[in-house]
């Protein structure tokens, strides 16, 4: 088996790496970190699976995250060439195997292709580094033989495991002196069954004696049964005789007694009599009860009104509506009356009537005609009154005017000048001239003229006002005007008289001049007014005269009119004259109200009367009743009466029924009495007592007859065979007890025998039908079969165990020495016979023995020699296993410690092995390839190499 090509898709630092290998030596050179170990690991990974993620070993998944895995092309003589590809998938990777002929295979097949080797086993022989070489140090004989036999640890372990398992299972099935293992148990069981069978068989052997016993029993029982039967018959006869003899005696006695008695008694006489008697008394009772009832019922027929009253009640009920109407009417009449009264009162109040007047008013004629008659008179009167009034007003006016004029005259008189004033005034014309002169003198240079004008203006205004006022008879204003005029005058008087003197003169006399002037003026006016007023007074006096006359005339006229009116209304109770129309209207309404009132009064009276008469009537019948509840009461009464009526009727019915029943009862009583009499007649007695005596006698006779009959009936049962012998009772009894005793004894005997018979019979039939034995037999067979099966299991397990053991020991004994021999051979060659053999100590550890016979433990050897020893062993193993495990040998620089001589010998040995073994030698020493005689196939690993990869 050789690797022809390595193809890595992605593994560690390698990507798309392809390496072609050749049979024999392949030198894979590369500096440190070129990825040599990676390639070595790749081979192992692809063959044996990627390590689990939790394992220590590296998985070499590409850091770039690209494709992971690769494939190997294998040349295999045993199974044909194949290729294995392992890529990312499940944790150990997805594997695919394809053979040259196109067949595909999977894991299972791979196991076979790898000859059952797992990675560990493979590494322990075929793949090693310098470091791993030294693992051998710890090996002892066992490990070595294992490694050798094996197929490495796993395969061998499996065998060992199987062996152990078989051993265990054998122990689980059977132990020579055990009790618990199933086979032992089964044997015990079988033994027990065997014993049980024997027992059962013994039991069955009693079958024959039992059958004999059964026969005997049958015979005995039959004989006894015969005897029993005979005795039984005898005892039966005796029993019958025992019964018959006393019966016969009784019969005779009875016949004797009966011969003294004979009479007839009506059939069931007593019963009939008693029935009749009880019926009689029952009827009697019923009669009294009915009579009582009748009385009671009749006494209860009261409290019902006579028919006419009830009819009256019904009529009343029918009148209820009318009654209600009447009541309403009365009510409305009363209301109406009240209303009218109020109205009348109102009128009366309005008219201010006294009681008497009210009464008389009814007679007043208030006709329209009369109204018309009165009206013009009143009108006239009124008119006159008006005229009078107007005149009076005029009169008063004139009077006023006159008074006014008088007043004015008076006032005027007061304005008349006094004597002093007259004197003064007489000086006025002189002064007037003086003044004028003064003024003149002054006027040339008088510049104060305007000033002189002011008092004049004021005086004039005052005068104007006074004049106007007098004219207008405004005396107040006249006063004011005078005052103003006075001021003006005063101012005037104050004015200077002459320019110097004059001015002062002027000023001194000015006021006097104005005053004097004014006085003159006033005097004029006063005189004029006096005349004017006098004329006025005259005129007014005349006017007054006229008015008085007129007044007189009017008064007369009026008196005429009043007289006339009084004539017309003198017989009226009160005055109609004022506001005649209203009075008439009121009167009329008053009268109407009066009339209405009367009418309502009447109606009220009738209604009340009717109501009262009805109430009276009802009260007569029902007793005092409130008017309001009258009809309620009536209705109640009627209802009560109705129900009473009904009850009454039913009671009457009952009374009738009772009467009938009474009649019937009476008849029945009579009939019963007759029947009783008949019964008595039949016996020929007339009383109860003798009747009963007769009955008693008859009963006795009957009893005797019955007894006789019974006895005879009993006798007739036995009468088939007449008694053989005349027995006496005591004799019979003695005989009988004897027979019974014997019979009892025999029966007991039979019973015991039959019991046994049954038991024996049962046993026999049970035995015959018993399956126990055959069941045991069958079970015995089954257990045997089961034991057989288990034994077979045991045997094959033992066979497996034995074969494994034998094979193992065979390997150990024959093949191990062969390996050691080969290893010796190479080791001594490498060391150039320095060491003759490589052997095992008694404890099973390796030792090297020099040609001189000196022995060294492994750890006592130099580093290189130790390595050489191990290498020899490994190669010897591979050499020996070439048939079973023809794997390539993969080495990772294991020769670095070797000197040139030993190295070249090593290379010699390897070269010798090359035809049968493929080597993959990884090294970082470039000179390595020169060590070979013929240059080996060399592959350079590293960046340079990578370039060549496609």
């Amino acid at each position: 088996m050789k690797i022809r090509k390595i193809l890595l898709y992605g593994f560690g630092q390698h990507e798309n790496l392809e390496i072609d290998l050749r049979p024999g030596m392949n030198l894979l050179y590369g500096p440190n970190e070129a990825g040599k170990t990676t390639i070595q690991q790749a081979i192992l990974h692809i063959l044996f699976g990627f390590p689990q993620k939790n394992q220590q070993e590296l998985r070499y998944e590409p850091k770039t995250g690209g494709k992971y895995g690769g494939c190997l092309y294998i040349e295999d003589q045993a199974y044909g060439n194949w290729m294995i590809e392992r890529v990312r998938g499940k944790s150990s990777g997805d594997v695919l195997i394809r053979f040259e002929d196109g067949r595909m295979a999977e894991e299972e097949e791979l196991k076979r292709l790898l000859r059952g080797y797992d990675r560990q086993a493979f590494e322990s022989i075929f793949s090693f580094s310098l470091f791993q070489l030294q693992d051998l140090e710890k090996m002892d004989e066992n490990d070595l033989s294992r490694t050798l036999l094996a197929s490495g640890t796993t395969g061998l372990d499996t065998l060992w495991k199987v062996e152990k398992k078989m051993e265990k299972e054998m122990g689980g099935l059977f132990k020579k002196s055990g009790k618990i293992p199933p086979m032992n148990k089964k044997m015990a069981e079988i033994r027990e069954l065997e014993q049980a069978m024997q027992k059962e068989q013994q039991k069955l052997s009693t079958y024959e004696p039992l059958t004999i016993r059964k026969q005997e029993l049958d015979e005995q029982v039959a004989a006894l049964r015969l005897e029993e039967h005979r005795l039984y018959k005898q005892s039966e006869e005796q029993r019958i005789a025992m019964q018959i003899v006393p019966l016969q005696q009784q019969r005779n006695q009875l016949l004797e007694q009966l011969s003294h008695m004979s009479d007839e008694f009506p059939a069931a006489g007593i019963r009939r009599y008693e029935e009749l008697a009880s019926k009689q008394s029952e009827l009697q009772l019923k009669k009294t009860r009915l009579e009582k009832e009748q009385a009671k019922w009749q006494s209860e027929l009261i409290d019902l009104r006579p028919d006419n009253e009830r009819r009256q009640l019904e009529r009343w009920v029918a009148q209820e509506a009318e009654w209600h109407r009447l009541r309403t009417e009365r009510l409305s009449a009363e209301q109406e009356i009240r209303l009218l009264e109020k109205k009348r009162q109102q009128f009366s109040n309005r008219l201010g009537l006294t009681e008497d007047q009210q009464l008389s008013i009814r007679q007043i004629d208030v006709s329209i005609q009369r109204e018309r008659q009165l009206e013009p008179i009143l009108e006239e009167q009124k008119e006159l009154d008006q005229q009078q009034k107007a005149l009076q007003r005029l009169l008063a006016e004139a009077e006023n005017e006159r008074q006014e004029a008088e007043q004015r005259k008076e006032r005027n008189d007061r304005l008349r000048l006094t004597e002093s004033e007259r004197a003064k005034l007489a000086k006025w014309p002189q002064l007037q001239r003086q003044l004028a002169e003064a003024k003149f003198i002054v006027s040339a240079g008088n510049k104060q003229a305007p000033n002189q004008m002011v008092p004049i203006v004021i005086l004039l205004i005052g005068l104007a006002i006074g004049a106007y006022s007098v004219l207008q008879q405004q005396w107040l204003f006249a006063g004011l005007g005078l005052l103003v005029a006075g001021v003006g005058a005063w101012l005037w008087k104050q004015r200077p008289d002459s320019v110097a003197d004059q001015q002062s003169f002027i000023r001194n006399n000015e006021a006097l001049a104005a005053e004097l002037e004014k006085l003159a003026e006033r005097d004029d006016r006063q005189q004029r007014d006096q005349r004017q007023v006098s004329t006025e007074i005259e005129r007014l006096d005349r006017k007054l005269q006229n008015y008085a006359e007129e007044m007189e005339q009017l008064h007369y006229k009026k008196q005429q009119a009043v007289k006339k009116l009084q004539e017309l209304v003198q017989d009226e109770p009160f005055d109609l004259t004022c506001n005649i129309q209203e009075s008439f209207r009121l009167l009329r309404e008053f009268q109407d109200a009066e009339i209405d009132q009367r009418t309502w009064q009447q109606r009220l009276q009738t209604t009340t009367q009717q109501l009262q008469s009805l109430t009276q009537e009802v009260e007569n019948m029902l007793g005092p009743v409130a008017e309001e509840s009258l009809f309620e009461r009536i209705r109640q009464e009627l209802l009560r009466q109705d129900s009473l009526q009904e009850k009454h009727l039913s009671k009457q019915q009952t009374v009738l029924v009772i009467r009938e029943q009474l009649q019937e009862t009476h008849e029945l009583l009579e009939k019963t009495a007759t029947e009783i009499q008949n019964l008595f007649d039949m016996v020929g007695v007339s009383e109860k007592e003798p009747f009963y005596t007769a009955y008693q006698q008859d009963q006795d006779a009957q009893l005797l007859k019955r007894q006789l009959k019974e006895v005879e009936a009993q006798l007739s049962l036995y009468s088939k065979e007449p008694l053989v012998k005349e027995w006496t009772i005591p004799e019979l009894e003695r005989q009988r007890s004897e027979t019974t005793n014997r019979l009892q004894m025999i029966r007991q005997e039979v019973e015991a025998l039959v019991d046994e018979q049954v038991k024996v019979g049962h046993e026999i039939s049970q035995m015959g039908a018993s399956q126990t034995y055959s069941e045991l037999q069958q079970l015995f067979e089954v257990r045997k079969a089961e034991l057989e099966e288990m034994t077979q299991q045991w045997v094959i397990r033992k066979a497996v165990r034995e074969s494994i053991r034998q094979t193992m020991s065979e390997w150990k004994e024959h093949q191990l020495p062969a390996v050691l021999k080969q290893a010796n051979n190479w080791f001594s060659r490498l060391t150039r016979n320095r060491y003759a053999t490589l052997g095992l100590t008694v404890e099973g550890y390796f030792e090297a023995i020099t040609a001189e016979g000196q022995s060294f433990m492994m750890n006592e050897l130099s580093q290189a020699t130790k390595e050489q020893a191990y290498l020899s062993l490994r190669l010897a193993l591979a050499y020996e296993l070439v048939e079973r495990a023809p794997f390539p040998i993969i080495m990772d620089d294991p020769f670095v410690h070797f000197d040139n001589e030993r190295l070249s010998r090593m290379i010699e040995i390897l070269t010798e092995l090359q035809p049968t073994h493929q080597f993959l030698y990884f090294t970082c020493h470039q000179e390595m390839k020169s060590k070979w005689l013929s240059e080996p196939h060399t592959i350079e690993i590293g960046p340079k190499v990578k370039g060549e990869i496609h």
């Binding site: 094996a150 395969g155 065998l159 024959e208 055959s774 067979e781 066979a799 034995e802």
Partner: protein, 400 residues
């Protein structure tokens, strides 16, 4: 002329236990044990119905020397039935129910004629025809000398021989009253009614030399329908009709697992095959042989015992009765286990001789239990070797 008609049966083995019924429950056992009686009842019923002129029973009526009492009583009852319809019975006892055994004898009715220890002749007249029957009963378990010489040659009348024994030189069966066919033929009987061999076979036609076989199979080696012969003899020819009586048939059934992968399909395939079988033969004790099992899931073949139990459960308390005695699986077609390991071990096993085997088993066989076990033959060793190899491979597969 009406033919002489008789029934020929042998080896009733009434109440015989069934062998090799490991792990059968009480119900199954009871059912099986009933079957010898059921077969016998069928035989009697047939006779009562068909009214043959007589019946011959050639030995081994009972299974054991101890003659189950139940069996005797059942036999007695059967004979009584035949007596009622006036059918005479001629019987001899064989090696299993020889006369020396200690047992309680149950009396047989008068229509039953038993041959004594010596070869003797019994005569009867059927429709004016004289019938001579020759036979003997085994005085003890082993009769190794040839008894045939004591049989007289045929004379006048119709001669019929009853012989419980085996052909001389038969390696398979222990030799009892050995004879050769020519020896029988030399007697010039009309019919040889043989017993002892449970496999039905006609050794010769002229005259008929016949083993009717037993009436009910009792273990895996007694397969197929079992019964008796209804024989009619006329002056010109002889005719034999086989009548089946077996209540339960032991048989082997091959089930193809082609295209089956999962357990439930496998179960239904087995059931189908079994149902078909029972429809033909009635109640069976059957050994299933699986073939074409490549498609089956691996765990199915691994847990054989469980599947057997499951399958058995399907037929519990069913009628017709089905008992699956075993399931035989074909050997693994290829071994995955590397030759390097297995080869040498297997080679070791193959190298063992009978003595090696005897050494191997003596721990058990020479133990006190040994007497409950049948002695192993080279054939057994061969079988054991195969089983051991299979086990080894299986275990390696499991462990590896």
């Amino acid at each position: 002329m009406e033919p002489i008609r008789f029934l020929h049966t042998a080896d009733l083995h009434l109440d015989s236990p069934f062998k090799g019924m490991a792990s059968a429950g009480p119900d199954e056992l009871a059912r099986l044990q009933q079957s010898t009686f059921a077969a016998f009842d069928r035989f009697i019923a047939y006779a009562v119905k068909e009214r043959p002129d007589f019946i011959v029973i050639v030995g081994d009526l009972y299974d054991g020397e101890d003659r189950s009492l139940r069996a005797q009583i059942r036999f007695q009852q059967g004979m009584q039935q035949l007596q009622k319809v006036n059918i005479p019975v001629y019987l001899s006892y064989g090696n299993h129910d020889h006369l020396a055994g200690r047992w309680t004898r149950v009396s047989l009715p008068e229509n039953v004629h038993v041959f004594s220890e010596q070869v003797e002749q019994k005569q009867l007249m059927i429709r004016d025809e004289k019938i001579c029957l020759h036979g003997f009963s085994y005085p003890q378990r082993h009769v190794k000398e040839s008894m045939i010489r004591q049989y007289p040659k045929a004379s006048e009348g119709i001669h019929i021989g009853l012989l419980h024994g085996s052909v001389a030189g038969d390696a398979e069966h222990a030799v009892y009253a050995p004879f050769t066919i020519s020896e029988l033929q030399d007697k010039h009987y009309r019919y040889w009614a043989l017993g002892h061999i449970h496999k039905r076979q006609v050794l010769s036609q002229e005259p008929p030399i016949v083993y009717p076989g037993n009436i009910q199979g009792r273990h895996r080696n007694e397969q197929g329908l079992k019964g008796f012969y209804d024989v009619s003899l006329t002056p010109i020819n002889d005719s034999m009709k086989f009548v089946a009586t077996s209540d339960v048939v032991f048989t082997t059934l091959t089930v193809s697992c082609k295209g089956i992968e999962y357990a439930d399909d496998w179960i239904s395939a087995c059931q189908e095959a079994i149902d078909q079988l029972t429809a033909e033969t009635g109640s069976v004790v059957v050994e299933l042989v699986m073939e074409h099992t490549e498609g089956l899931t691996k765990d199915l073949a691994k847990a054989e015992a469980e599947w057997l139990d499951i399958l058995r459960e399907q037929y519990e308390a069913m009628e017709p009765f089905v008992w699956i005695s075993a399931i035989e699986w074909p050997k693994n077609s290829y071994s995955v286990v590397p030759n390097s390991l297995l080869g040498p071990v297997e080679k070791t096993i193959s190298s063992w001789e009978t003595d090696d085997w005897n050494d191997l088993v003596k721990e058990v066989y020479s133990h006190k239990a040994g007497r409950y076990l049948e002695a192993l033959t080279p054939a057994d060793f061969e079988r054991l070797k195969q089983q051991a190899t299979a086990l080894l491979e299986n275990e390696m597969l499991k462990e590896g």
